[in-house]
Amino acid sequence: MSENGYWSRVMLSRLSRRRAIAGAATVGAGAAALSVIGCGGGGDGGGGGGGQATTDKPQDTTAQAKAGGVYRIIQTADPVNLDPNRSTSFTAQEVGARVYSRLLKFQTGPDITPLSKTTGDAAESFEVNADATQWTFKLRKGMKFHPKGPASVNGRDLTAEDVKASYDYFLERNGNKAILVDIVDKMETPDNSTVVFKLKKQYAPFQELMASSALFWIMSKQGATGELDTQKVEGVIGTGPWILDSQTPSVEINFKRHPNWYEKARISTGEVSLPILDGHTHVNMPDYAQQQAQFIAGNIMAFAVRNPDLADVTRQKADAQKLGVPPGWLLSMFYFKLDNPNNPFRDERLRRALSMAIDRDGIIEVFGEVSKLKSQGFDIPTGWNNACVPWGDGGMFWWLDPKGKDIGAAGQWYKYSVEEAKKLVSAAGYTGQTFTINTTNTIYGTTFDNQTEAHLPMLSAVGFKYDFKSEDYTSKYFPEVYTKFNYEHVAYGYNTPFATVGEYMYRLVHSKGDQNKSRVNDPEIDALVLKQEVETDQNKRQAIIHDIQRKVSDKMYYVPTVVGRWGSFTLFAPYVRNFGSFRTAAYGTSVESYPRYWLDRA
């Protein structure tokens, strides 16, 4: 899951340890942001999103596969809890994703854009009523629990009662439930193989939430009601492709294949049930030097290399396979206290000027060392965030390129032009009043801090005068600035990545959005946000979402920066197969990718 950029890995692994996010994977969208979080705990490149991946061998080789073997990779942190319905930590979610099922999951394959299509997981099919307020899921027949644990669970079929108990347990114990609490009125189980969600409002992309690899996980009724201790290895019993076999805290966690998992494939020896591998082991390796050494020594099969080390490591490990992908979905931005009547940035010309003052390509070039890497033969993908949807792996379907022609007239505000910015500053009547910029320098690491500071001379160059306040994240920035919007004029930082594009729309730019940090209050945008929520046609919904991006960009309610907007490479041992062909994002890699991985060696 660590196909994402190093910057994102570092920054988000820090971020995620504090605030793993709510939400779900979306069709063609943002679960890639989660994949970054996920990659904090993994050393694999199985995830990914809609960006153009650079791979050595991106073919589907399943037909030649040989069954067996244990895939040995890195996890950067021990699971803090083995129960993903109880803990929102990315480490717990990763364990959950391997062991438990969702109602739906995302399709993967060489020709499928990651996160673009949902398919059945525990549910074989679903129906939705005309106004998208009632969603009925039919459970898969013969969906078996793992062959372990007490007789009440061991190898039995999954029932609707299990799903209901898991959902109730999730609502009772999980901090990631915001989006479902907001949308779902109730869940019913009319019979033992049917689950019905009745929504409070029309919500067309509900299937994306049910395919999310960061929401609720289906356990047994016994697990969800406390009969099993789901925080212990013996109590972790699901219907997913992997059985939690053992754990040595601080060392490794081992999974073996679920022999009765539903998905099948034809390999060299005929049709088999997936997974192809016998198991996978995640070795606890928080230290980067250790990861690199172990990969070169051949003890680990995948390694998310840092860009500056790419040439060196690939020279030492010449037979390593490479998978290069864009970074995860992450928005870094200046935001504005627009409900402060004394804030000069209520004038959109100043916001536009601020945007035009930023040399985005310059920042990417300097910090991403793109030209240097290109000269070494590594074509690193780069891109710009727009004002409300980040560029990055998994989000490409929805993202509108600020440099492209589809952004329309708003594109002019993204162009780097000190002269034009100065004109706007002057036209807005700004005469050098000092404004405050609140940010933090205590959590995202020096790479973020350095890139943040690189913006300051650019602002000065167009005549802005500011008081730059870098504050402690834990005691000041997060609780006050980020959460309660207690700042005076301008703030700067990351936006906790959302999993669905719908969240970027509603939570960030709708007037009632809980993450509306700029206090945007634009009736036109509000109407569009609600319109996309009830649009069931994916292309039409995309068009509305593009429209919102154009409008938010034109007003520059958020001024996006390009911190960490360049890709990175994951290296694989020469015998690992299918890693580039079944890419997904978020925590879904274990279910959507790993079952088709295989090891091409004696």
């Binding site: 605030r19 939400g23 809890n81 925080q231 928080p286 050494a293 070169i296 030492q316 834990t474 997060f478």
Partner: protein, 317 residues
């Protein structure tokens, strides 16, 4: 002697109680709420009912004095609590982790003694000759080089030039002693080398002083072999300050093992402590701090008592 030991043991009680209070208050006054960290609520969304429920489960809804007294009471009955995050009992975790850290620490200490003291003696015996200069140089180097840096060098050099890396697994000694020692070898050597630097320097200095004493001349005059003079008469006396240093190095040992356990995938208390501190997992942080402090206090007492053995002039009353 017994009286002295009893007095020292009694003195340990207020020391440890004071320590429990400091640790308890420090953990409680760290910024950010543990329950917030557990829930990882997305910004803007809070579930007060769930928070209240967790607070009650963890006993965080009572007053600080109540929490402190409850914790102290539990400790006295051997209940170290359970991790807020994983739900696993701290005592159970420690049962598997403490022996690992003790093994790492003991082996590293033994290694540092095994190389530090003989080299110190040799350095003194060959004072101002090339061997002395070489050992002095090495000891200064060992003092100056942090163990984590040495660990990185081992990893980088090993993988770059020999395609080798330390084993990325752990095996307890009771399962396979050979495998266990192979796994422990690298961190033990690195940690031990760091500790040996001080011992080499100190042993050399002490030996030089002792070797000039009259009783050494007397011993030689009696016709004792040089080896007997050095080991039986000189080294034993020179050891007193070295033993003191060994006691003081317990803290260095604990700190060093935290980093090395992390780098070399050793499932000891170091990594556990580090993770718990970052998460504000109070039961773990409090219990471990108390245990580490007790070990240090006890080891210092043992050091003090060893003086009586090493130097007959030392009498405790």
């Amino acid at each position: 002697m017994q009286k002295y030991v009893a007095r020292r043991l009694l003195l340990m009680i207020p020391t440890l109680i004071g320590l429990t209070l400091i640790v308890f208050l420090l953990t409680r006054f760290t910024p950010q709420d543990t329950v917030d960290l557990i829930l990882n609520d997305s910004a803007g969304y809070q579930d007060p009912a769930l928070k209240a429920k967790l607070r009650k489960e963890f006993g965080l809804d009572s007053s600080l004095p109540e929490q402190y007294i409850t914790w102290l009471g539990n400790i006295l009955t051997g209940d170290l609590g359970a991790s807020y995050f994983s739900g696993r009992p701290v005592a159970q975790e420690l049962k598997s982790r403490v022996p690992v850290s003790v093994e790492l620490g003991a082996l590293a200490l033994a290694f540092s003694i095994a190389i530090g003291i003989p080299i110190g003696v040799i350095s003194a015996v060959y004072q101002d000759r090339w061997l002395d200069y070489a050992t002095r140089g090495v000891s200064v180097l060992l003092l100056a080089v942090p163990s984590f840096w040495l660990a990185l060098i081992v990893l980088i050099v090993g993988s770059r030039y020999f395609q080798w890396a330390p084993p990325a697994r752990y095996e307890p000694p009771w399962q396979d002693i050979g495998s266990n020692l192979y796994i422990m070898m690298t961190p033990v050597i690195i940690l031990g080398l760091g500790l040996a630097g001080t011992k080499i320097r100190l042993m050399r200095t002490q030996m030089l002083e002792v070797l000039r004493q009259d009783y050494i001349r007397t011993a030689r005059a009696k016709g004792l072999t040089e080896m007997a003079v050095l080991l039986r008469h000189a080294a034993k006396n020179a050891l007193i300050p070295v033993v003191t240093i060994i006691g003081l190095q317990m803290t260095v040992l604990v700190a060093g093992s935290v980093i090395l356990e992390r780098i070399f995938i050793i499932p000891g208390i170091g990594q556990y402590f580090l993770d718990a501190a970052a998460r504000r997992d109070f039961p773990i942080v409090q219990s471990l701090t108390l245990i580490i402090a007790t070990v240090i206090v006890v080891s210092n007492l043992l050091v003090d008592l060893s003086y009586a053995y090493l130097d007959p002039r030392v009498k405790y009353s």
